[in-house]
Symmetry: C2
Subunit: 409 residues, 2 copies
C-alpha cells in the first residue's frame, strides 16, 4: 500500500462552475499540504452529460453507442483541464489526462464498458515528480484505442479502480451529500449519518435506491478491500467510511432503511406447477435483458400456482410482452401488472446473528396496518413490497422500530 | 493519387446546430452517391471554441497551454461524433476519430503545434470497408500521446494535411462564403467570385487579410500541389479552386485586392546609418516573437535615417517597449507609433510579366488624392499603407482600376 496516496473523486455538482472548481482546488491543496499525494478523478460539470445526450437525441433517436462515447467522454475532459488550470493558478503543479492517456483499458462494450486493467506507469511517473494527477472520470479506451465510457456513475468506478490499481491508502468520493444515512433524510426526519458502513451493507443500500454511489464501484472496492470515504465537497464535514469490517465488536442489527418506488410488479397467474417452469420463465426474461429483482412463488393449489416478480418500471412494457408470450407457451391464464407498489428494505450485517429481525419488521408494519404484498430476504437485508402510497410511512415506521434515529456510529 | 478520394472540411458555421449538421450529412452523401470515398474534417460547432476559451479565462488569465489543448480539442470531438450519428440515421456507415486515433502526430508546441506526420493506416482501413471517415479537425497528438491543437484555423490544416498524406484527388473546404473574391464583397460593390486562383495569389491574399483560409494550410497545399476548392455549405454553388497553375495561357495582371486594418506602424527616428543596424533591430524584434510585416527605410541624410515598420496591432505595445530599448542602445532619438493606418494590396501572378502595375496603382490612388505612406512589393503583390479612413476608398479605387468588376474567371 502507498500510505501517502489518496484518490479523490469529485462529482458533477462539485465541479459545476468556476466557483465550485476553485473550491475543489482548495480541497485538493489541503491534502497536498498534509504531505499526501493526490490523484483526482472528476466528473463532467453539472448537467453537461445530459446536455450532450440530448444533443445526440436531437440528431438521432438511437445514436450509435461508439459515437455516444466519443461525444459524452468530452465532458470529463473539459472539467479535468479546468481543474488543472485552477490548481496552476494557486501555484500547484498539476496535469490532466483522459482515460486512454493513463491506460484505463476497457472491453469494447461502448457506453457500458468494463475496466480490464489500468497501466499505472504514467500516473506514478507524474506523482514521483510531485505533480497532482487529474484523470477524466467515466471513461477508458479499448486496446485498439477506441474511446469507451463506463455507464452512469462511472466516475465512481474510475476512482475506485484507480485507487485499487495504484494501491492507494484511501479513495474519497466528494459529492453533494454528507455521507450515508440510516434513511433518506428527505423522507425520514431523524435520519442519522453513519460514520462507518460495510461494503455489503452499502451494496444492499445502493441496490435498494440510496443513490449515493455506483454499485459497481462498491463491488470493486470490496474485492480489493479499498476503504472509501463518502463526503460533501460543500460542507467538508466528516463523511461515511465504507470498509470491509467496521471497528465494533458487536454490530447493531440494522444499519439503514431504504425506499424504492421505481419498480413494478408482474404476476403470471395459474402457472402449471411443473419442475423447470420457473427456470424457463426467468431464463427467457434474462435473454431479453430484463433484470428481475424480487421473485415470489406461492405454494401451489391443485398443481397450479402464481408467480410474481418485480422489474424496473422503465422495462415494464417490454417485460409484459415477454411474459405474455411465456404465459401462452406454458399454459398460464393471465399476466397482471401493477405499477402502484413501493419496496421498503432494512439492511445490516448484524442481522446475520440477530434472530427475529424479520419478525420485528413484519409486526411493526402490521401494527400500523400496512399490508405486505411480497417479501424477499438476503443474509443482510429484508425487503417488503407494499402499496405505493404507504411506502414513505413504512420507511418511517421501520426507521423508528430499529432505533435508527438514536444510532451512534 | 487516389482518384476517388476527397477530403471535405466543414467549418464551425457549417456544423453550428442540428439542422446544419444534417445538411452537411446530405452534402457528404451526395459525394458517396457519385462513387467518391470521403474523409470529413470538422470544426467545433459555432462558437464552441470561444466559449471553452472564456471558461478557461474565467479560471485563470494565463491558463497552461497543455491544459488549453485538453480543453479546446473537445469541441471538434463533439461535432465529429454528431456528424457520424447524422450519417448513421440516413443509413450510411461512418466512424468519427479524434486526432490521436488516426495518428496525426505533431510537435510539442501546445496551442500552435505543427504536424510532423500522419499515419494513414486506420483511415485507409476504414475507407476500404466503404466507411465514411470523420476526423476531428484542429488537433493532433505528440509521440507521447499528449493532445495538441494546431492554432486558429487549424481545421483547414488538418484537412489539407490529410488530403496530402492520403494522396486525395482534392480537398474541399466548405465554409460560409462562396469562394475567393476579387475583393471583400462587404467593402467593394461589384467584387467578383474567382473560379481559379493560384496558391501564391491565395497566400498573398490570406496574409493580406482575406480571411477565408488559414495560411499554413495553403502553404502545405502548395508544397504537395493539392488542389483545394473553397465553397459554401449553405448555397452549394460552384466555389473557387486554388491550384498550382491556372488553366489560362495569359494571366490577367491582377486577381484581387485586399484591405487590412489590423496593423500599426512604428517608426524609429534618427537612426545612425551604420551597417548592421537594421539587422540588429529586426533580430531583436524577432527574438521577442514580434512578427514584422512591411519595412521601409528612407535614404539617409547626413548618416541619419528613419526606419518604419508595421506589426499586428495586438503586439503594438510590446513592440513599442522593445523598440524603445533598441533606440536607446543604438542612439536613435525617438520611437513613434501610429495605429491609424490601413494597408491596401493588389495581388496577381500576372504582375510578374506585366510591367507598370505598380505605376498604375500609385497613379490611381494619387488621382483620388489618397496619400501613400509606405510601399512594399513582392513578385506578385504591391501593398500601400494609407490613412485608415481612406482604406476602404483606396480598395474600391484599385478594384475599379484593374477592372476586377469585369473579371471572367
Amino acid at each position: 500500500m502507498r500510505n501517502n496516496l489518496y484518490v479523490l473523486k469529485f462529482g458533477g455538482t462539485s465541479v459545476a462552475n468556476r466557483e465550485r472548481i476553485e473550491e475543489v482546488a482548495k480541497i485538493v491543496i489541503s491534502y497536498i499540504k498534509k504531505g499526501i499525494n493526490v490523484v483526482c478523478v472528476v466528473s463532467a460539470m453539472g448537467d453537461t452529460t445530459d446536455r450532450l445526450i440530448s444533443l445526440a437525441k436531437e440528431i438521432s433517436p438511437f445514436p450509435s453507442e461508439r459515437e455516444m462515447d466519443m461525444l459524452i467522454s468530452t465532458g470529463e475532459q473539459v472539467s479535468s483541464a479546468l481543474l488543472a488550470m485552477a490548481l496552476h493558478k494557486k501555484g500547484y503543479d498539476a496535469l490532466s489526462f483522459v482515460g486512454y492517456q493513463v491506460g484505463i483499458i476497457t472491453d469494447t462494450s461502448h457506453t457500458q464498458a468494463r475496466i480490464l486493467k489500468i497501466e499505472t506507469k504514467k500516473i506514478l511517473d507524474a506523482l514521483r515528480k510531485k505533480r497532482i494527477v487529474i484523470v477524466a472520470g467515466f471513461q477508458g479506451a479499448t486496446e485498439d484505442g477506441e474511446i469507451t465510457t463506463l455507464g452512469r456513475g462511472g466516475s465512481d468506478l474510475s476512482a475506485v479502480a484507480l485507487a485499487c490499481c495504484l494501491k492507494a491508502e484511501r479513495c474519497v468520493i466528494y459529492t453533494d451529500v454528507e455521507g450515508i444515512y440510516t434513511a433518506d433524510p428527505r423522507l425520514v426526519k431523524g435520519a442519522k449519518k453513519l460514520r462507518y458502513i460495510t461494503f455489503d451493507e452499502m451494496l444492499e443500500l445502493a441496490f435498494l435506491g440510496a443513490q449515493v454511489m455506483q454499485v459497481r464501484a462498491v463491488e470493486v472496492a470490496k474485492k480489493f478491500n479499498m476503504p472509501i470515504e463518502v463526503k460533501s465537497s460543500f460542507t467538508r464535514k466528516e463523511g461515511t467510511i465504507i470498509m470491509g469490517k467496521t471497528k465494533f465488536i458487536e454490530e447493531p442489527e440494522v444499519r439503514g432503511v431504504a425506499l424504492t418506488e421505481n419498480e413494478a410488479k408482474l404476476t403470471i397467474c395459474n402457472v402449471p406447477d411443473k419442475p423447470g417452469i420457473a427456470a424457463s420463465i426467468f431464463t427467457e426474461l434474462a435473454k431479453n435483458n430484463i433484470n428481475v429483482d424480487m421473485i415470489v412463488q406461492n405454494v401451489s393449489h391443485k398443481k397450479i400456482t402464481d408467480i410474481s416478480f418485480t422489474v424496473p418500471k422503465n422495462l415494464l412494457s417490454k417485460a409484459e410482452k415477454v411474459s405474455q408470450k411465456i404465459a401462452q407457451r406454458i399454459g398460464a391464464t393471465e399476466v397482471l401488472s401493477d405499477c402502484d407498489i413501493a419496496k421498503v428494505s432494512v439492511v445490516g450485517v448484524g442481522m446475520r446473528s440477530h434472530p427475529g429481525v424479520a419478525a420485528k419488521c413484519f409486526s411493526a408494519l402490521a401494527k400500523r396496518k400496512i399490508n405486505i404484498e411480497m417479501i424477499s430476504t438476503s443474509e443482510i437485508s429484508i425487503s417488503c413490497v407494499v402499496r405505493k402510497k404507504e411506502g414513505k410511512k413504512a420507511l418511517q415506521v421501520l426507521h423508528k422500530e430499529f432505533n435508527l434515529d438514536r444510532i451512534k456510529k
